[in-house]
């Protein structure tokens, strides 16, 4: 499938990129590794006038440990993160989510910034233009109805980043810079909860850094997918344990991950919390597996992740 026409610009600094954003009145898309963006463009799900390549911004390409935080630039590839010893030693849940993302060739190209800001997915959405025209545009394409749940008023496309779940369980924060200035927030605050527009970012904002508090943790990442070698999560759970507390994040179902904070890790508490995922998970028939199965598996993976993290050697 050929790409639509667009111009290409390469930014050297964040200010440069925002300058280009303004120059083209926002009719642009930012490009990192392109592993999410290129398929969207090919499907004509986005048709920007200009693609602004962020890979030349060196400030966004480093990992530094300082002042009790590990700071990761948005341009760092998933493969480079896997080689980082601090991540292996301190954040096992993150190492495991990186390892579970797509396949290694795509990890070499895909960046962490692009991974977090990848669009939500749906079996009725990630399709060619011809297919979608024939079927009729859905809510996420600006149409009036959902093609999965007739009559639905909101879009329940799935957010499929593996690493967002791990980073949420690690209480990471993100920094963004846009035409209106700079701000920082907890990573879970980047989600709007709306499948049609999944991110609560202002127009033109660039994700620059992710920061993780440097505390050793136990953790585990569990992911349900059809093909183990390469596949998006159909439901996934990240668990991060610090002393007697756990932060658990469930994703792959619906437009935003869901967080569970547990105080105390007795079997009853874990089982109770894992059961509440069933009602919380708003699964619909928009993937290759049935909603009922994915809902049930949320609790199973929840318990599996916590148990695996508990068993992990200190």
């Amino acid at each position: 499938m050929i790409l639509p026409d667009f111009e290409y610009r390469k930014a050297e600094t964040v200010a440069d990129a925002i300058g280009l954003y303004n120059e083209f009145a926002g009719n642009v898309r930012y490009l990192a590794g392109g592993t999410d963006l290129m398929p969207l463009l090919k499907h004509r799900l986005s048709t920007p006038a200009v693609v602004i390549d962020l890979k030349g911004i060196l400030d966004l390409s480093t990992i530094t440990a300082q002042d009790g935080w590990l700071t990761i630039g948005a341009n760092v590839t998933l493969f480079a993160l896997k080689q980082n010893q601090t991540i292996r030693d301190y954040f096992p849940v993150f190492y495991q989510s990186l390892e579970a993302t797509a396949c290694e060739t795509l990890q070499m190209r895909g960046t962490i910034g692009g991974n977090l800001l990848q669009d939500t997915r749906c079996i009725e959405y990630n399709k060619s233009n011809d297919w979608r025209v024939a079927r009729g545009f859905c809510l996420k394409m600006g149409g009036k109805t959902c093609n999965v749940v007739p009559g639905a008023r909101v879009c329940l496309s799935n957010y499929c980043s593996d690493n967002a779940l791990a980073l949420i369980s690690l209480s990471a924060t993100v920094k963004v810079i846009g035409p209106g200035g700079e701000r920082a927030m907890a990573i879970e605050e980047i989600f709007s909860g709306k499948g049609s527009k999944p991110f609560a970012l202002e127009p033109g904002e660039i994700l620059t850094h992710i920061r993780i508090p440097m505390e050793k943790s136990k953790g585990a990442y569990e992911k349900l997918r059809v093909r183990k070698s390469i596949d998006y999560p159909l439901v996934a759970v990240a668990a991060c344990l610090k002393e007697d507390n756990a932060r658990i994040c469930v994703g792959g179902i619906g437009p935003a991950p869901r967080v569970y904070d547990l105080k105390g890790l007795g079997t009853d508490r874990v089982v109770d919390a894992s059961r509440s995922t069933y009602a919380d998970a708003k699964a619909v028939s928009n993937t290759t597996l049935s909603p009922e199965y994915r809902k049930r598996m949320a609790g199973v993976l929840f318990r599996r992740a916590v148990n695996k993290a508990l068993k992990e050697e200190k």
């Binding site: 693609v51 390549d53 396949c103 070499m108």
Partner: protein, 140 residues
């Protein structure tokens, strides 16, 4: 659309080209340079048939732009053999009969080159995400 000048070192030969910004590396290799070893299959980054090596790492060329590659060193399956001697991976694919129709084989080899030869460890996880339906998998 403005065209852009890019200089690439492809299989050890420097080439300067004028490309449109929306041209993929796969299109450049196959349609301009007649290097048809990398195959156009899914076109969406899923299958790996289009894999070539860029700056020492395997890359799915169907979802990468040629303009992004300015200054890059690119190796394709055509450049693997030295003089008339095939690369050991090509030899072993032949010896083991790890080919059925052969369409995806160049992508397999360019992926395997990194995971097998460069890092001296066998690929894990079902041949690292290369999707194949027909290939005699056990032969890999």
């Amino acid at each position: 659309m403005e065209t852009v000048n890019v200089t690439l070192r492809i299989n050890n030969e420097l080439t300067t080209l004028q490309v449109k910004p929306n041209e993929t590396l796969l299109e450049t290799l196959r349609e301009r340079l007649d290097l048809t070893g990398a195959k156009a299959s899914c076109g969406m980054g899923s299958c790996g048939a289009c894999t070539v090596e860029v700056n020492g790492m395997p890359l799915r060329s169907c979802i990468a732009l040629t303009v992004e590659m300015d200054g890059a060193e690119i190796n394709t399956v055509e450049g693997l053999k030295e003089e008339e001697k095939l690369h050991p991976l090509q030899e072993s694919f032949m010896e083991e009969g790890a080919v059925q129709c052969g369409f995806c084989t160049s992508g397999m080899i360019m992926t395997a080159k990194h995971f097998w030869i460069e890092t001296l460890r066998p690929p894990r996880r079902d041949h690292q995400g290369a999707l194949f339906q027909c290939l005699p998998v056990h032969r890999l």
